[in-house]
């Protein structure tokens, strides 16, 4: 549904994105994850036909974003990061305006349906200027959905919302997937983890990783970690734990616990428990700690920063 090949965009001399190649399939929610300024918005603006790439090509719903820009625009629903609203219009007036520009058939019925979809029926006649940020975000989503687009591109759809609103918008997005392709940018890792089928991590304009959230986690996790809490742990115990087969590191945790790293794929829990008991200590707690996507993200983007600084 979305195919980007070697997309590159320069702002003056500065490359905002470099050689981005990725794909989003039909019915998939693809997360575009990266820190602020990574090039997410630039990529989305290219895919929506707002501006062309300096190099590379992109196809959306089978149409080239430069050569068939109008066809692409007809098939894409777009919610920019700053929700583009006219505060002096009511929700219905706003949707009517967008709907007529997009030549939506049976516009009144579509407006009713989309208001239902984003739970805004009661606020249909409210002026947009009087709505809360969360409600405005929903109005923005409603305009993106109005023409029943095959592809939905959402730039940071939960930014600036309160936790309850965030949960609501995420639910809404998950409910949209059925027959649509959704490309969603975010700098919140848990968001990508929760709602995306696949994640593309982008930093400084380049892709640094691409996979399902679960795969990314397991492949990039590297060493696995255990947290062990014992009564009266001493240096001798730490030496013994260090000697356990498969253990690659023993460290003191921030609140008195012992953190043990093991080789990838090695389950050392039973051996560690036995070692603690055999050394005459009471084992109070033993748990495996997964490496979070957050850590992977920081690791990847830090590597990239170091790499580009060096180059």
């Amino acid at each position: 549904m979305i195919q980007a090949q070697s997309l590159t965009k320069f702002y003056g001399e500065h490359p905002a994105i470099r050689d981005l190649t990725f794909e989003a399939r039909k019915g998939e929610i693809l997360g575009f994850l990266g820190p602020n300024g990574a090039g997410k918005t630039t990529t989305m603006r290219i895919l929506t036909g707002y501006m062309p790439p300096s190099r590379g090509r992109a196809q959306v719903a089978g149409f080239d974003v430069v050569e068939d820009s109008m066809e692409v625009r007809r098939r894409v629903g777009y919610l920019p990061e700053t929700v583009p609203l006219y505060p002096e219009l009511s929700v219905v007036e706003y949707l009517s305006f967008i709907g007529s520009l997009r030549r939506v058939a049976s516009l009144d019925d579509r407006i009713d349906a989309v208001l239902e979809e984003v739970h805004l029926v009661e606020r249909a006649d409210s002026y947009i200027g009087n709505l809360s940020k969360g409600l405005r975000q929903r109005v923005g989503l409603a305009q993106a959905l109005l023409h029943q687009p095959e592809v939905l591109i959402l730039d940071e759809p939960t930014i600036g919302l309160d936790p309850a609103q965030i949960i609501e918008v995420r639910k809404l997005i998950q409910g949209l997937r059925s027959d649509r392709t959704v490309l969603l940018s975010t700098h919140i890792l848990s968001e990508a983890q929760q709602i995306c089928d696949r994640v593309v991590i982008i930093n400084k304009g380049a892709i640094v990783a691409e996979d399902t959230p679960a795969h990314l986690q397991s492949q990039l996790a590297g060493a696995e970690r255990l947290v062990v809490r014992v009564a009266d742990g001493d240096a001798e115990l730490r030496r013994r734990l260090q000697a356990v087969q498969g253990v690659v590191g023993v460290q003191d945790g921030p609140s008195g616990e012992i953190e043990i790293s093991s080789s990838p794929g090695r389950d050392v829990r039973a051996l560690v428990a036995r070692t603690v008991v055999e050394a005459g200590h009471d084992l109070l707690e033993l748990r495996a700690v997964g490496v979070s996507l957050e850590e992977i993200f920081l690791q990847l983007t830090a590597d990239e920063t170091a790499g580009s600084d060096g180059g």
Binding site: R45, T48, M70, F97, L101
Partner: protein, 243 residues
């Protein structure tokens, strides 16, 4: 073309719900009404009301030159500062359709504003015998509409360069004043003076339309100035693509 109509319609509705537009209308009608009333009052005192329908058009030109930047300042500047331009230009709308739609909406508002002032010549016509010269009146209003259309196009172009509406208004006023006074420099003959006279957009109005003369050359001047300026405005909007 349909998009132009939709955008113009929204723009026009915006003026009719914006307080700024009403302030402008009240200001215009107060000044013109006052001038008209004074003229008629003194006319009645001397027993001779001047049957000149242009009584209000002369002052209106000056007022409009100073107030039109307020009408155009937000046209594209506001869309750019609020990000709604991204909404419009990721819908199947071409850059020029947006620009022309915006300009046309503003023109619709200004024409409505000016149309109301026709009431003064009508009153004058009833008060005098044999009435006023309708030909001069029609020609003056035609010239006024053409001139305002050109000023609005200039305002639209300037607004495309800015995100701040205030900056857009200031810059538009500066450009309009320059085009207004440029004719004043053309005192003698010669190529440069001729050019200055040709560029001065009030001279095309006062020298002909205002006197009841509709010269094709003046019509061409205002229409080509409008078209050229709107074309440039579209180019400025499109420049986001290669910036």
């Amino acid at each position: 073309m349909r998009n132009v109509g939709i955008i113009a319609g929204r723009e026009l509705r915006h003026y009719f719900i914006s307080p700024m537009a009403y302030v402008l209308a009240i200001l215009l009608y107060l000044i013109l009404g006052g001038l008209f009333a004074i003229n008629v009052y003194f006319g009645l005192q001397t027993g001779q009301v001047n049957p000149d329908g242009r009584l209000v058009i002369g002052p209106m030109v000056t007022i409009l030159i100073f107030t039109t930047p307020i009408v155009t300042m937000r046209l594209l500047a506001e869309e750019q500062s609020t990000g709604t331009i991204e909404l419009l230009l990721t819908a199947p709308v071409r850059d020029w359709e947006l620009v022309v739609g915006k300009w046309l909406g503003a023109l619709g508002f200004m024409v409505a504003l000016m149309a109301v002032t026709w009431v003064y010549p009508l009153i004058l016509h009833r008060m005098t015998n044999p009435g006023i010269d309708q030909g001069v009146l029609v020609s003056a209003y035609l010239g006024l509409v053409l001139m305002v259309a050109a000023i609005l196009a200039i305002g639209t172009l300037v607004s495309a360069f800015f995100r701040s509406t205030l900056a857009a208004a200031g810059a538009t006023l500066a450009v309009i004043l320059l085009l207004w006074i440029i004719g004043g420099f053309a005192s003698g003959a010669g190529g440069a003076n001729e050019l200055a006279r040709y560029l001065s957009f009030v001279s095309h109005f006062y020298d002909n339309f205002y006197r009841g003369v509709v010269d094709l050359q003046d019509v061409v001047y205002y229409v080509s100035l409008t078209v050229l300026t709107l074309f440039l405005a579209s180019q400025v909007v499109e420049s986001r693509r290669w910036r």
